[in-house]
């Protein structure tokens, strides 16, 4: 230990620090919660602070290095009043915060920049923020926030960021909804909005409201799972397997246990063997149940071996080192193809796993679904004028939430287990923990605080059971935070797949038969293996009409990190293949790729005939016509029309554009891809909410839904406010706490706005009914139906009104007292599809193979965008993530299954200085089954960026590449081997 003195946020402090203590750890210990862990290597910037005014990464700085220096964190901007600093204000007003995990770092980076350069160029802004990774916003609104902060600091009053309203192109120009403003706005961060006449005027829904949880984020208040302090907290570490495949013969834990400060050491030898599947899905969880908390076999590098709870992370780590584990190392299988070959080592040879399709052949699942019998399919192919067959392969990528998985557990005063965790499925997690910990559900409380990004990786019980076991074993609070390296190897990833499309086409460019076969790699465990791959089948065979379709899929176990849910959920794989395949077909047929799609794409009323054959609950044996869902609201044609204009599609094929003069190695191209997703799982996903009225006419909204940075709480508040005639600020939202809120399946399948939103709407309507009845009595109106709620008042037909506050006081205190409260659940028989048309413009350097994306346009039909700022932010973030899929991201293992790039940098995700400009166009449609016309927007925009980029490369170079990611080397090799005339270099 050593004493140092620092000036922290303006106050001189003398503190004792450990010699190897990082500045990050010191600052968090001193209560600066805004400084956060993102990695141990300085790349995420979540721990960026100012030292003597310069931005540095506190996780790669020793606390002692700060001795004698001035350290500023976000907390320095807090004057202790409700006032926001102009930079904070700008971040709130632009929707630049989603999870907000790195808000502190971003605000500080902005401060450092603007002090140096009060009028920064866009390039300077991008550079200043380039060391702070953001996985959620695509940086579009972050850059806008910095521009806005500069303006505010100059004393300007920039207008609020509001949608830019565009005329529709496919329907005749309509009178616009009168309540849309912001037509002047041309900021790139403002969504473009194509209104629909079917949408009635609304007061709150459809408005770019600020996030209800923005303050907490932008001020660095308690927000995330790790932001609590608990007396007697122990720290957990997990010993992980160095081998891809091994049996544990024995574990000698005596030395670890003897280490002072160690409180528990758990492994297969001292914990119960209870089988489960870690995917957070509705009861009963899809099989196989192929996991146990601690097994005597390890199936991938990074698999759990043992867990320790100790007085400090260092002691816990030391104890892990002291565990003597004897392994019988087994040969690993490292690819799906190897795994299903005869004689391959068997990943799951244990006798007690239920529900593996064929363990001896490493097949976790086999999926089949077809709309016609085999002979009819063969006939359809026989009738086709041309048949095209192509094989695509897509890689494993990681979600990379900047907040890693972290959970803190303790026993409350009633000795119930409480787990506060970064998790997107708190209710499923509670239920799934129960058998593992041998506790009844009633003795477990799971709290989902603010989450710094999930994307599906937290739709899994990855760490909560370990924390639960350790709390029960020690009786002490326990904290477990994964390191970035653990995040890469031990959480989840996208399924890698090899997809073969065989498509029969008639001479007039109509699809007549389609056969998709897939080999997927689920890694060491089968979680989500069935449902993700079923969705690959659904998404690959839904958005174009075709009379004969078949899907076949083998899902293989391998000794690779575990695959799971990831935004898009099987669709990005399917749509990379499908949308690339269609461009190749169009090229060979000599048809414009847009035209080929137009001849085949689905329209309102078209059947989604593959869907019931590949359902969440397995194949439906006899599909009756009424089981086949049909396309409802559909703005796809308008999306395409808007997107074509926005990207400048007409430049394609113009040689003066595609071969820019003076730059001999550059080729330019434009490509596109279409996408559709669902909105929740029909008849499975259920959300519930309660709304209660307070004395001042405000409301508490208690929703089961899990806002994981998506802005769901805000959208739900807007829906409630619309019904109740108040503003979102009058709705106090609390969500995702199993003790307090009603049930909800959680944040997945794009269900929150559509399903949970409808539950909120119904709950609000139930509350409104009570309010209106009371108002009618107080106003002396006979017919309560005549009363409307608006502007915090109940207003009668004759214009007389009474304030909600008076009604609340009356209800709570005066007369026929009652708690005005509404509770409702919602489950939908439909899953209306959001649609997207995505376009990319690229430059390809044919000498190096480097692809630079110059612009991405996404036109999306998400129904009514409850919050256009939030909706466009979802799109921008999904596009950014998808660009990584398209260009750089791939989790690479060596021949022994060890990760080679489990670290940012070597694993490259989009930074602010490589984020291309984006344009987002919200094409409104009115979805009658959704809340105020909403569908969903969380996933669809991640689906077809990769094929759009790939097709743009095809347009630029004539080279069709069927593998991702499009690294310079891959593109260069393809250019080398291609004989296409255009590609000669």
């Amino acid at each position: 230990m050593m004493e140092i003195s620092i000036d922290l946020n303006g106050a001189g402090r003398k503190v004792e620090v450990g010699l190897d203590e990082s500045l990050l750890r010191l600052l968090r210990r001193l209560g600066c919660l805004s400084v956060r862990y993102g990695s141990s290597t300085g790349e995420t910037g979540a721990a960026a602070v100012l030292v003597d005014g310069d931005l540095v990464s506190a996780e790669v700085m020793l606390a002692v290095q700060a001795d004698g220096h001035r350290v500023e964190t976000l907390e320095s901007l807090d004057p202790g009043t409700a006032e926001l600093h102009p930079i904070q204000q700008a971040f709130v007003e632009t929707g630049a915060l989603q999870g907000g995990y790195s808000a502190g770092a971003m605000v500080l980076a902005t401060k450092a920049l603007l002090e140096r350069r009060p009028d920064p160029s866009d390039e300077e802004i991008r550079d200043a923020l380039s060391g702070i990774l953001d996985r959620e916003t695509g940086y579009v609104k972050v850059l806008e926030a910095v521009r806005r902060a500069a303006a505010l600091l100059h004393g300007e009053k920039p207008p609020p960021l509001a949608p830019l309203v565009l005329e529709p192109l496919t329907t005749s120009p309509t009178t616009r909804r009168g309540d849309l403003d912001g037509e002047e706005s041309v900021s790139p961060a403002a969504p473009r909005l194509v209104p629909s006449v079917d949408v009635p005027p609304m007061a709150v829904v459809g408005k770019p409201e600020r996030k209800v949880d923005a303050l907490r984020m932008v001020k660095g208040h308690e927000a995330f799972a790790d932001d609590v302090e608990l007396r007697g907290l122990l720290h957990a570490k997990i010993l992980r397997s160095p081998y891809a495949h091994a049996r544990i013969r024995s574990i000698d834990d005596s030395a670890a246990r003897a280490l002072p400060g160690v409180h528990a050491v758990l492994h297969y030898g001292n914990t119960a063997r209870v089988k489960y599947a870690s995917g957070g899905q509705s009861w009963p969880n899809p099989k196989p149940y192929d996991q146990v908390s601690f097994d005597d076999k390890v199936r991938h590098v990074g698999d759990r071996v043992a867990a320790v709870a100790a007085e400090s992370p260092e002691i816990a780590e030391e104890a892990c080192r002291l565990l003597k584990v004897t392994y019988d190392v087994l040969p690993p299988v490292l690819s799906a193809k190897e795994a299903i070959a005869p004689g391959a080592p068997v990943v799951h040879d244990e006798p007690d796993t239920e529900g593996i399709y064929d363990a001896s052949r490493n097949l976790s699942h086999h999926i089949e679904g077809q709309t016609v019998p085999d002979d009819e399919l063969a006939e359809a192919f026989a009738r086709a004028d041309r048949i095209f067959e192509e094989t695509f392969s897509v890689q494993a990528v990681q979600h990379c939430p900047i907040e890693p998985h972290v959970a803190v557990g303790w026993l409350d005063g009633d000795e119930r287990l409480v787990i506060r965790t970064s998790n997107q499925v708190p209710f499923h997690t509670r239920r799934m923990l129960s058998p593992l910990l041998a506790l009844p559900v009633k003795s477990i409380r799971v709290i989902k605080p603010r989450i710094g990004g999930g994307f599906g990786s937290k739709q899994e019980m990855v760490i909560e059971d370990v924390v639960g076991h350790l709390v029960l074993a020690t009786g002490r609070p326990v904290r477990l935070e994964l390191t970035r390296e653990e995040e890469f190897v031990s959480t989840r990833r996208r399924h890698s797949q090899t997809l073969t499309f065989r498509t029969g086409v008639s001479s007039d460019g109509k699809l007549v038969a389609q056969d998709l076969s897939v080999l997927a790699d689920t890694g060491a465990y089968g979680t989500h293996g069935f449902t993700v791959q079923s969705l690959t089948g659904q998404r690959g065979l839904s958005q174009y009409n075709c009379p004969a379709k078949r899907f076949r899929c083998d899902v293989a176990y391998t000794n690779r990190p575990v695959a799971g849910a990831f935004r898009g959920y099987g669709a990005p794989q399917a749509l990379f293949a499908l949308e690339s395949h269609l461009d190749d077909i169009a090229r060979q047929l000599g048809i414009d790729p847009v035209e080929l799609r137009r001849r085949n794409w689905v329209r309102s009323g078209d059947p989604l005939d593959i869907v019931p054959r590949l359902g969440e609950r397995g194949a439906v044996e006899e599909v009756r016509p009424e089981d086949i869902p049909r396309i409802g609201s559909c703005g796809l044609a308008e999306c395409v029309a808007q997107g074509l204009v926005a990207i400048g599609w007409e430049r394609r094929g113009d040689p003066s554009w595609s071969r820019p003069p003076g730059r001999p190695s550059i080729r330019r191209g434009i490509g596109m891809g279409l996408a559709m997703q669902g909105s929740g799982i029909p008849l499975v996903d259920m959300g519930a909410a309660s709304i209660k009225m307070n004395d001042d006419g405000s409301f508490n909204l208690l929703a089961g839904a899990a806002d994981i940075g998506t802005g769901a709480d805000t959208a739900l508040a807007q829906i409630a406010a619309e019904v109740l005639g108040v503003t979102p600020a009058d709705i106090v939202v609390y969500s995702g706490d199993t003790d307090v809120t009603p049930f909800d399946v959680g944040a997945y399948a794009s269900s929150t706005t559509y399903v949970s939103g409808m539950a909120v709407k119904k709950a609000a309507e139930a509350a409104r009914e009570r309010i209106v009845a009371r108002a009618a009595r107080l106003l002396g109106v006979e017919d309560a139906c005549e009363i409307h709620l608006r502007d915090h008042h109940a207003v009668g037909a004759d214009g007389r009104s009474i304030s909600l506050e008076k009604i609340a006081l009356n209800a709570l205190h005066t007369e026929d007292q009652e708690q005005i409260i509404g509770t409702a659940s919602h489950v939908s028989p439909d899953s209306p599809a959001p649609f997207a048309a995505q376009f990319a413009e690229v430059e390809v350097d044919v000498e190096t193979g480097q692809v630079t994306v110059e612009k991405v346009v996404t036109a999306v039909d998400c129904g009514v965008a409850v919050n256009p700022l939030g909706a466009s932010g979802q799109v921008e973030g999904a596009v950014a993530q998808a660009l990584g899929y398209a260009l750089t991201e791939e989790l690479v293992l060596d021949d022994h299954g060890r990760p080679l790039n489990a670290r940012f940098g070597p694993y490259w995700i989009l930074r602010s200085d490589d984020a291309p400009p984006q344009e987002v166009i919200l094409v409104e449609t009115m979805e009658p089954s959704g809340p105020f016309g909403a569908k969903s927007v969380g996933e669809v925009a991640i689906d077809s960026v990769a094929p759009a980029v790939r097709n743009a490369v095809l347009d630029a170079t004539g080279v069709a590449i069927d593998e991702l990611p499009l690294t310079p080397e891959r593109v260069w090799r393809a250019l080398q081997t291609s004989s296409a005339g255009d590609a000669d270099v």
Binding site: M2, L19, D20, S22, S40, T41, G42, E43, G45, A48, D54, L55, V56, S57, E59, V60, M61, L62, V64, Q65, D67, A109, A112, R126, D127, A128, S130, G131, I132, E317, G662, E847, T848, Q850, T852, V853, L883, G884, L887, T888, V892, D894, L900, N901, G905, P906, W908, L910, R911, D913, D914, T967, P968, E969, W972, R973
Partner: protein, 290 residues
């Protein structure tokens, strides 16, 4: 942790504990510490040693002290004296890393991907080492002996780096610079020295240590128009230059790319760096590079 306040004090501390880790910016060392690969039992900080800060001119040399940060390399007038070094610094990590990371740390770490190293190689820099016993000067090519290994002796520190400040064209190029969503796989630094009428090429990430490309340099030297200060080469000659640079590379396959691609890419970079090279006029102004 010791925080000596002068060079003498620093050298005495290093002599007293030759196993101690020096820490400058900490951006390499802390990664090791956080990964549990190193525990800074004893750490000696160079933070308060004034002799290791900043840079100065001495005759026709620039002396870069070991604790010079990347951000400092990017600032005028240093960035005008050593533009390739500034360009390399600009591609390093992120603003946070550039504010903290130092040239001494980059040299001592001696990673094949160290971004200043090909520039220092092309500049034929001299590394000045010092210990309580005295100092010695080592050409950068001898200082870095293999992957992450240097000829730094126990008790020695890097005091500074000496580079020529003669009239020269300087370029630094990476495949996969920023703004491109690409992991850099190789880099090339070019120095066309007007006084010695020599072109030097430093190749990064294509060998265990930063490499020079003597045959490519010879060709480039002969193709450069020293009077006009611009390259003059036919398409064929440029292709040959790329080929010779590729041949000088000794890359390996890794998860980022194959040796074959790295070899090709380093040739492209060398050629482009050459095509871009423009000698500044006597006042130091450069004609605009396309």
């Amino acid at each position: 942790m010791l925080v000596p306040a002068s060079l003498d004090e620093l050298l005495a501390s290093v002599a007293a504990d030759t196993r101690a880790d020096l820490i400058a910016g900490g951006t390499d060392l802390m990664v090791e510490v956080n990964f549990g690969r190193r525990s800074p039992e004893s750490v000696i900080s160079v933070a308060l040693v004034p002799e290791l800060k900043s840079w100065y001119r001495s005759g026709d040399e620039v002396i870069l002290n070991a604790a010079l940060t990347y951000s400092e390399m990017m600032r005028p007038p240093l960035c005008e004296l050593l533009p390739a070094l500034a360009q390399a610094a600009r591609t390093v990590g992120s603003p946070q890393i550039r504010n903290a990371g130092t040239i001494g740390g980059n040299l001592a770490t001696a990673s094949p991907a160290g971004d200043t190293l090909p520039v220092l190689a092309a500049l034929e820099a001299t590394v000045v080492l010092e210990s309580a016993e005295g100092g010695r000067a080592v050409p950068v090519g001898e200082f870095i002996v293999s992957v992450k290994r240097t000829s730094l002796a126990p008790g020695e520190i890097i005091r500074s780096v000496r580079v020529p400040a003669r009239r020269a064209a300087q370029e630094f190029l990476k495949v996969g610079t920023r703004n491109a969503m690409v992991i850099a796989v190789c880099s090339v630094a070019l120095v066309a020295d007007a006084e010695r009428r020599e072109v030097h090429l430093g190749l990064g990430s294509v060998g265990p240590v930063p490499l020079r490309a003597p045959r490519a340099e010879e060709l480039a030297t002969s193709l450069f128009d020293w009077d006009e200060g611009v390259p003059r080469a036919s398409e064929k000659e440029l292709a040959r230059l790329a080929e010779l640079a590729s041949e000088a590379a000794r890359p390996i396959d890794d998860h980022r790319s194959t040796a074959r691609y790295r070899r090709h890419a380093v040739g492209v970079c060398a050629r482009r760096a050459f095509e871009r090279a423009r000698l500044p006029d006597a006042t130091g102004r450069r004609s605009v590079t396309p």
